[in-house]
């Protein structure tokens, strides 16, 4: 079920999303980690590098880096892998350019008869309030553009 956000307790908010893919969990896990660059909408505002960002990597190992690589070769870490148990589960932190506090992303790969159910949970938004940085101005500028890009994409599908 393409998940709706749910308030699990006071102020804590979770965004859930899931998809089914026609791959066994091992391959689905590898595609999410080694192949993350194929899936991440990097050039559409979801990167620190923006136009400079060329690739994104998620190292499938505990303590591994989640990082962007720019066209000039510079790298910027945007998160850290906390739990990595292939092919079942990976958990990593993520600072998007839109919030500087870290949020947490957990992905589970559940075997099904015809492939894998990939179940994602994104949480820690309450930390944005707790640790919220003074980046409101920046958000206010970038956000509508990002949302607009996705609306266009969704409409074109």
């Amino acid at each position: 079920m393409p998940g709706d956000p749910q308030a699990t307790k006071r102020g804590e908010v979770v965004v859930r999303a899931s998809v089914r893919v026609p791959l066994p969990p091992e391959a689905a896990f590898r595609l999410f980690t080694d192949g993350i660059n194929q899936c991440w909408p990097l050039q559409e505002g979801y990167s620190y590098g923006g136009d400079r960002a060329r690739e994104i990597f998620l190292e499938p190992v505990e303590g591994g880096r989640f990082y962007e690589r720019f066209v000039d070769g510079d790298e910027l870490q945007v998160g850290t892998v906390r739990v990595c148990s292939p092919p079942d589960r990976i958990l990593f932190t993520w600072r998007s350019p839109h919030w500087q506090a870290e949020t947490e992303v957990e992905v589970r790969f559940v075997a099904e008869d015809l492939g894998t159910s990939v179940q994602l949970e994104h949480r820690g938004f309450d930390r944005l309030v707790a640790e919220g940085q003074t980046i409101a101005r920046r958000w206010a500028g970038g956000w509508p553009r990002v949302i607009g890009a996705f609306a266009a994409r969704a409409a074109g599908r």
């Binding site: 066994p24 909408p41 015809l114 990939v118 958000w139 949302i147 996705f150 994409r153």
Partner: protein, 114 residues
């Protein structure tokens, strides 16, 4: 009610308001309690609470003679919308890539005995 991103961001952009939200994480409180320990007076706290309320981040209700303020659990929906849009796009791409991979390697497509 989902308030505009701008109102949420504006509300979160102030240090005192973030401190107020931080305090409210402990539970519903009256103004006098919230103001305790903050370097601004009660009138200022009330003003900040109004901004937070207008942004949908805080709700209040009367409890006897007092008014209690608390975090609105739905207040961060604007931020959630952003995350939802993102994952929807990312997982759609992921699914496409998975289908391509399954087509090029059909042997790995299903579990045996499925």
């Amino acid at each position: 009610m989902v308030e505009s991103h701008e109102a949420i961001l504006e509300a979160l952009g102030d240090r005192t308001r973030r401190a107020i939200l931080e305090r409210l994480r402990a539970g519903p409180q009256p103004v006098v309690e919230i103001a305790r320990g903050l370097p601004v007076g009660r009138p200022a706290v009330s003003q900040h609470l109004k901004v937070l309320k207008d942004a949908g981040l805080v709700i209040d209700h009367a409890a006897g003679t007092r008014r209690l303020y608390q975090i609105n659990p739905e207040g961060l929906e604007g931020l959630q919308d952003y995350a939802r849009s993102f994952w929807s796009a990312a997982l759609t791409r992921y699914q496409r890539a998975a289908r391509r991979a399954a087509e090029t390697a059909p042997a790995a497509q299903t579990k045996t005995g499925a």
